[in-house]
Amino acid sequence: MPLNMIVCCKQVLDPEAPPASFKIDSSSNKVVPPPGVPPVVSPFDEQAVEAALRIKDQQGGKITVLSLGNNLLRDVVKKPLSMGADELILLEDEAFEGGDSWSIANALATAIKKIGEYDLIFCGRQAADWDAGQVGSGIAEILGIPSVTVAKKVEATDGKAKVERVIADGYQVIEVTLPALITVSNELGEARYATLKGIMAAAKKQPTVWKPADIGLEPSQIGAAGRRAKLLKLFQPVKEGKCEVIEADTPAEAGAQLAAKLREAKVI
């Protein structure tokens, strides 16, 4: 049976950028985007798109991608379309900036109500910027639908989904009634690459852009104004960075000397 699926995708600073390029502007408590490194779709969200695509491959369906933010780069937020998603809706406005889990989940859930029909909603387990891990469960709670988090496999049949949920020592197989929200973890496996055909098709598609008023929200309810959690301080942990590098004539010799060094330092 074809399913209506919605995937929430966040544009974030590339988490694979070298750690040395990571800088904070402490006067504004904001991260300074590294020059020359374009933003990406948060990797767990890409895997959420992959989870939806696998279901579409099996039984057909429609995938609507929802992204929230400001100044969203079309090349970035269109990536799920080039992977095979059908539609893209952007909640894009200056007023969406600076939100917390609460105001973001509220705006996404309100937009999902406007979309109306859905069987499955997918989110990444957490976004690669704030690592908050709350938005998926928050959307489900606001919509009043069940949620299963940290999934590595999702199948849907007969109005139900069977989800493998990652736990510390393995996984659980959980059956959940639809509609439901699933958050996806990296154990699902790599997201597929965009095909050339997909990229061409995505280039032709125009995203639908919704402003706060289009989903019936006041500026006071969204972004920084709608926050419940207050950020006091954003900082980089101080690192001593005093590594004693063992040097020797050959790598094998260095290995043996390293062992001797550990004994000397009473580490072994």
């Binding site: 690669a128 690592d131 891990g133 709350q134 469960s137 900082f235 790598p251 062992a259 550990l262």
Partner: protein
Amino acid sequence: MAEYKGIMVYGEIVEGKLSSITTEILGCGRRLADELKEELSCILVGETLGDAPKKAIAFGADKVYTAEDPLLKEYQTDSYVAVMEKAVKDVSPRVLLLGQTSVGRDLAPRLAFRLGGTLSMDCMELSIDPATKQLQQTRSVYGGNARATFTSEIFPQIATVRQKAMTPLACDESRKGEIAPIKVELDPAKIRTKVLETVKEEVVGIKLEDAQSVVAGGRGIGGPEGFQQLEELAKVLKGAVGASRPPCDNKWVPDTMQVGLTGKIVTPELYIAVGLSGASQHIAGCSGAKNIIAINKDPEANIFKEARFGVVGDWKQVLPAFTEKVKELLAG
């Protein structure tokens, strides 16, 4: 409106015993409650709780709320959130602490949104601002590249706590406390999930989380065969083998071996990182190790910023000699 008072800890029971993270957050909760001069309570939820309520008192709780019901045999979002919603509304603590575990990371956000409170996940430091009595929560953000401190004026303030970030009190069986059962009224029709199966993928030998020595491999190991060499070193050190994300994603090793932000948090005495670049997301899982040792051919690799000792070189040539020498030293 009720006054929010006291600290509440959500306790977990693993294999019939109070879990180690529960004792850690009880230790942290005790400190915060003492600063506030308020009560530390613990809530335990399950089918049967055994002697865990008494243990929770021995580890620092003043009062233990117990919720026992056959429907609570396994963790399920709907049933546990319903029980916790009622308990938190009845007790109205200013702060609720949970562990950053499989259960905590699912239960906490759903509960926070239901209660309309605020939540910080995976906190590494917690303190009370004496002026406002608000909880300040410090957690890792941007994949471990930065930390952020949050607070809120909305109660209850909820936080999940990173494993091994807090120190438990010594277990004191003579501590006095009260145990108060709470009434569970669950409607099975409102539980929208069913646990069909639980599959354990336990690795043989010493558990990664408990090991005092961990040998971890990264992308540079190149395949499952290389991990056999790490296994050999781990055996010599009576430790366990871990991995960063790429070896898990490439299925060289099971996912349960992943150390990092979204994997396991380990705090061994010795952490030997082999062929592992040391991405922030990985460091988040091992930065609590006493001694990090790096073997990597790239002198610019981030892991050298974390390590105490290191060798710049191809691990395939460094490791066999290292393992041999360690074996010799430990035998002597």
